[in-house]
């Protein structure tokens, strides 16, 4: 009981304790704020990447694509764990306004709007056809004309709040799209001056996926149109990918494993058929593997951040160690007194570790409370800083971020609090043990000769 009383009194009566408490609170505050923001950004980024693809992607990065995709799609659709399947053409194109003579290179996606929306979040990214993706390629000016959907950043700009400029109704802009059709062998399908396929498409919608790289470089065309432009109709119909959405409750890794088995069987059955060599390049990947290049950078940053938090944790341990070393140096008399009245080494260790645990609990509580308060107001604070000083953490005209993420993860808060208490105990352990081992006569400095 006396250990509890003394630990509590040491905590609130020693001014130096407040230093350690402030150090713990500050470290916890930093970790809570940065982890919440970073986790929010990474989580949001991953979700946007997932929305951009199906749960599982079967296909190839080759611009030639692969054959017999329709057969495989039919088989996949029948699997009990599959919700929807859609083929996709992926290539590159030059686009320009008719007659201007100027064009830019873009990423071309050929999709079946309705099925692609069932498999991915495509429908939700549209501005004019949100909720009715089947009409995504109906041109605004005339629904009989072939339409295109273009990445929001490629089409227009954003204001400093990250909002896009959209006209109330889709305009009648026409773009000429030029592709280099390839044969199944990978050679140019045409020769001479007529080596390209060009067709005019009319604006139908903008797609805002929230992925700056995608929205700044992509144009969607109807699947058949893209297939024809890319020369993927001859001599056998080809596609780049098949995106698969699993039924709710299906584990993505398990689902992908089953699709791999399904593909291996399909591959064996098609060996020896015309253009079957294209099937050898096909891989089956989960959405994470498919978007690896995009996600990897962010995950590396997150890993780096975790390492830095490890260093912050070590700094906390060191600060607590130094503070406890100082406190215990000032408390040698108390240790001597306690041992002279019968306290054991264990009692002394428990007393100071109790003190450390109290420090960790109070320090992390203050840090967590401060973190929650700050995070709840982080967007308001950033808004105020922007209005007052023109400062923005992320320039919304550049970064595809609406507001700074601030959703608290209770598990993370519990882990950070636990780690802070453990750091305090670790920092206090060595000074406590060395204090406990001291002989009462020595620490009381009673060796009067």
């Amino acid at each position: 009981m006396y250990k509890l009383i003394l630990a509590f009194r040491y905590l609130y009566r020693r001014r130096i304790s407040y230093l350690a408490l402030a150090a713990v609170a500050l470290c916890v505050f930093i970790v809570v704020v940065v982890m919440t923001v970073m986790d929010g950004l990474v989580g949001d980024f991953k979700q946007k990447n997932h929305n951009y693809t199906g749960d599982c992607v079967v296909g190839t990065e080759s611009l030639v694509g692969f054959a017999y995709y329709e057969d495989f799609a039919r088989i996949a659709e029948k699997a009990s764990y599959v919700e929807a399947v859609t083929p996709v053409i992926k290539s590159y194109a030059l686009v320009g306004t008719e007659g201007s003579g100027r064009n830019i290179g873009v990423e071309l996606m050929g999709v079946e709007a309705a099925s692609y929306s069932r498999v991915t979040g495509f429908g939700r990214t549209l501005y004019y056809h949100k909720g009715d993706a089947s009409k995504a390629f109906e041109a605004g000016s005339d629904s009989n004309l072939p339409g295109f959907v273009i990445g929001a950043d490629l089409w227009g700009g954003r204001n400093e709040k990250g909002e896009y400029y959209y006209a109330p109704n889709p305009d009648a802009t026409a773009l000429s799209v030029t592709c280099f059709p390839l044969t199944a062998k990978g050679a140019l399908a045409k020769a001479g001056t007529d080596a390209v396929n060009t067709k005019t498409f009319y604006f139908s919608d903008c797609s805002q996926s929230g992925l700056a790289r995608v929205d700044g470089s992509i144009i969607y065309l109807p699947f058949e149109e893209a297939q024809t432009l890319c020369g993927m109709t001859e001599p056998v119909k080809r596609a780049s990918w098949i995106h698969i959405k699993f039924k709710p409750g299906t584990n993505i890794e398990d689902g992908c494993r089953q699709v791999r088995q399904m593909w291996a069987k399909f591959y064996d059955e098609h060996k020896g058929k015309d253009n079957a060599e294209l099937l050898s390049q096909v891989s089956v990947r989960s959405w994470k593997e498919h978007r690896r290049e995009s996600i990897a950078g962010m995950e590396k940053e997150q890993a780096m951040l975790m390492m830095m938090f490890g260093l912050v944790g070590l700094t906390t341990v060191f600060i607590v160690y130094v503070v406890f070393y100082m406190i215990i140096s000032h408390k040698t008399k108390d240790i001597g007194i306690l041992k002279s009245i019968g306290a054991s080494c264990g009692d002394v260790i428990v007393l100071f570790l109790g003190f450390a645990a109290g420090l960790g609990v109070v320090g992390s509580a203050v840090g967590v409370a401060g973190g929650i308060l700050f995070l709840r107001n982080i967007n308001r604070i950033e808004g105020w800083l922007f209005e007052r000083f023109g400062f923005q953490l992320w320039d919304r005209t550049i970064y595809a971020i609406g507001e700074i993420p601030h959703r608290l993860d209770l598990t993370m808060l519990a882990v950070v609090t636990g780690c802070a208490i453990l750091a305090c105990l670790a920092g206090a352990a060595l000074p406590s043990v060395s204090a406990a081992r001291a002989r009462p006569a020595d620490v009381l400095q009673v060796s009067q000769l």
Binding site: M1, Y2, L4, I5, L6, R9, Y10, R13, K333, D334, G336, I337, L338, K339, S340, I341, G342, A343, S344, C345, D347, R439, P440, A441, L444, V446, S447, Q448, L449
Partner: protein, 231 residues
């Protein structure tokens, strides 16, 4: 109690300290024996080893050589737990510089030795009785009104009386006092000595270390230490 009636006896106590490269032999075979109910003063010049001997008797330090027996039991044969119990229950120690804990008030300091062996539940069951005894002791040493004061709010004499009350809370069989008046003026020191005499008359065995011959005369018996041995 030993068969000779001694509550504590020390035989052939040797103790050496290292001071840098030098070694100082403080005790060179000191012998002492105290009977129950005695009030013994150990006197000697500064550096004669009297405080060291008292610490060895109180198990605050270990001798390099020699035997200390408390009620016939050799202290060197006791384990850590037994020595803690010995320091907690068998003896009470009064220091020259009082050594009260600043974080606790006077009453809490006095009852601290009673709290040490108790867990939270054990303490809850006996705290009323212990607090009552603490207040009685404070009344006995004239500090009843100072129970809730902090040690730094007391005078030197009051602190020493609080320290004596703390040493008595577990009703120890032996009270060891190391220069209990050494840090006090003569009037206050006299009050402390009167308190010790009163305790001794009530049956308390006391061993007191002092360098002051006048203080030593207040004890029933005086032992003189010189050159690490009893003269």
């Amino acid at each position: 109690m030993s068969k000779d009636g001694f509550i504590i006896e020390a035989q052939g106590i040797h103790k050496m300290y290292r001071m840098g490269a030098a070694q100082v032999q403080v005790l060179k075979g000191a012998d002492i024996a105290v009977k129950k109910g005695e009030f013994v003063a150990i006197v000697g010049a500064s550096g004669s080893g009297k405080s060291t001997l008292l610490h060895i008797l109180g198990a605050l330090d270990r001798p390099d050589k020699g035997v200390v027996r408390f009620e016939g039991r050799d202290l060197s044969g006791m384990g850590g737990g037994e020595l803690n119990e010995y320091r907690n229950k068998m003896i009470g120690f009064v220091f020259q510089f009082y050594h009260l804990l600043d974080e606790l008030n006077v009453l809490e300091n006095v009852i601290l030795p009673a709290m040490v062996p108790s867990g939270i539940i054990g303490w809850m069951s006996k705290r009323v009785g212990v607090k009552k005894r603490g207040r009685e002791l404070l009344k006995a040493v004239g500090l009843e009104e100072r129970a809730t004061h902090k040690p730094y709010q007391l005078s030197g004499g009051e602190r020493q009386r609080a320290a004596i009350a703390r040493a008595l809370v577990n009703e120890p069989r032996l009270l060891l006092a190391d220069e209990p008046t050494g840090n006090l003026d003569s009037a206050t020191g006299n009050g402390i000595l009167e308190l010790l005499e009163r305790l001794n008359r009530a049956g308390q065995t006391i061993v007191m270390v002092t360098h002051d011959e006048r203080v030593a005369k207040r004890a029933g018996r005086t032992i003189t230490l010189a050159d690490g041995r009893v003269k």
